[in-house]
């Protein structure tokens, strides 16, 4: 009872802080200096139609490399923690077979979902979306396959090879930027091209496709590891 009361008092205090923040919030009428810089310079400096993509992949490219590394770390720790369960799989309990609807539907939908994922990350510099979103869509296709057949075994070698090759090329493109253009992860190692065309914005489509493959492989390996855990 005392605990419940303490929780309530604490939440009321936090709610008071939030209410003050919301009530005193004044939306900006103008873009601030950073945002204005990105809005005015993206077209000429980076050539990407989607300004968010220009920030994520080029202006703050190093942060994105760090983010992909964090994701890689998370997926390897999940693999490490759950590895023992996978080796001890002596008599896997037969799960209930998936329904006819799910199996047939997943056969039809999985290729389309994968195609959508690739479309989203290839067009990341033109439309809303990009490598992280496309990679998540790829992994949702993998999840659909796992739901239809829980005992399906994904090749961990294939997933880890895809993941490491994508990561290696991402860093290699970044290093090429030091020698051929202005610095690490500079996208101008390829011609910037015309704003709004598929082959534009220098190396951004290439980098975002690699990120998409890497994120897709990492999420898939997390899903495969979690689904391979035994019933306790």
């Amino acid at each position: 009872m005392i605990k419940r009361f303490a929780i309530l008092v604490m939440l009321l205090a936090v709610a008071a802080v939030f209410a003050t923040l919301t009530l005193s919030y004044q939306p900006d009428a103008e873009l601030n200096q950073t945002a204005r810089y990105y809005a005015e310079r993206t077209a000429s400096e980076v050539g990407s139609a989607n300004i968010v993509t220009a920030i994520v992949v080029t202006y703050r490219g190093l942060d994105t490399l760090g983010e992909v590394t964090v994701l890689f770390l998370a997926s390897s720790i999940v693999g490490l923690l759950l590895a023992r369960g996978r080796n001890a799989k002596l008599n896997p309990a037969k799960p209930l077979p998936a329904s006819e609807l799910l199996v047939t539907g997943s056969r039809l939908l999985t290729p389309l979902v994968m195609l959508l994922g690739v479309y989203v990350f290839v067009n990341g510099h033109l439309t809303p979306g990009g490598g992280f979103q496309g990679g998540s869509i790829l992994a949702s296709g993998v999840l659909l396959m796992l739901l239809a057949d829980p005992l399906k075994h994904f090749s961990h070698h294939l997933i880890s090879a895809l993941e490491s090759i994508a990561g290696l090329f991402y860093v290699a493109i970044g290093v090429l930027g030091i020698f051929l253009a202005g610095g690490f992860l500079d996208n101008r190692i390829l011609p910037i091209g015309e704003l709004g065309a598929l082959f534009s914005a220098g190396a951004i489509p290439l980098i975002y496709s690699l990120i998409g493959l890497k994120v897709g492989a990492e999420f898939s390996s997390i899903l495969a590891n979690l689904s391979a855990t035994e019933e306790l």
């Binding site: 936090v14 939030f18 989607n50 855990t229």
Partner: protein, 118 residues
Amino acid sequence: MAYVVMATGFCLILIGLYGSLSNRNLMRMIVAFTVADTGVNLVIVAVGYMSGRTAPILDAAVPVAEAAARIIDPVPQALVLTAIVIGVGVTALMLAYVYKLYEAKRTLDIGKFTELKW
């Protein structure tokens, strides 16, 4: 508009905090954390919103010359993109740890894990 989204985000944070503090089941705590996570993302996106403006994508509707006057702030959106992805990683880690904890004690009740209690 920004106020509605911001208030919704703060409400989600409060719901998530309440859920993670009042539940004793580890799985429910994880669900509550993801709700709070979504709330934080909503608040950050709401801060970048400016009424009457459009998405930060340059096309026929938003010519480069007028971009600074027509688009909303792109920086919070880039931040939230990062936050969502990291959130997925954190949730996956929590789930894996809970699996290991359950394997060790055969319970999901946080009150039963007393090793670090004083």
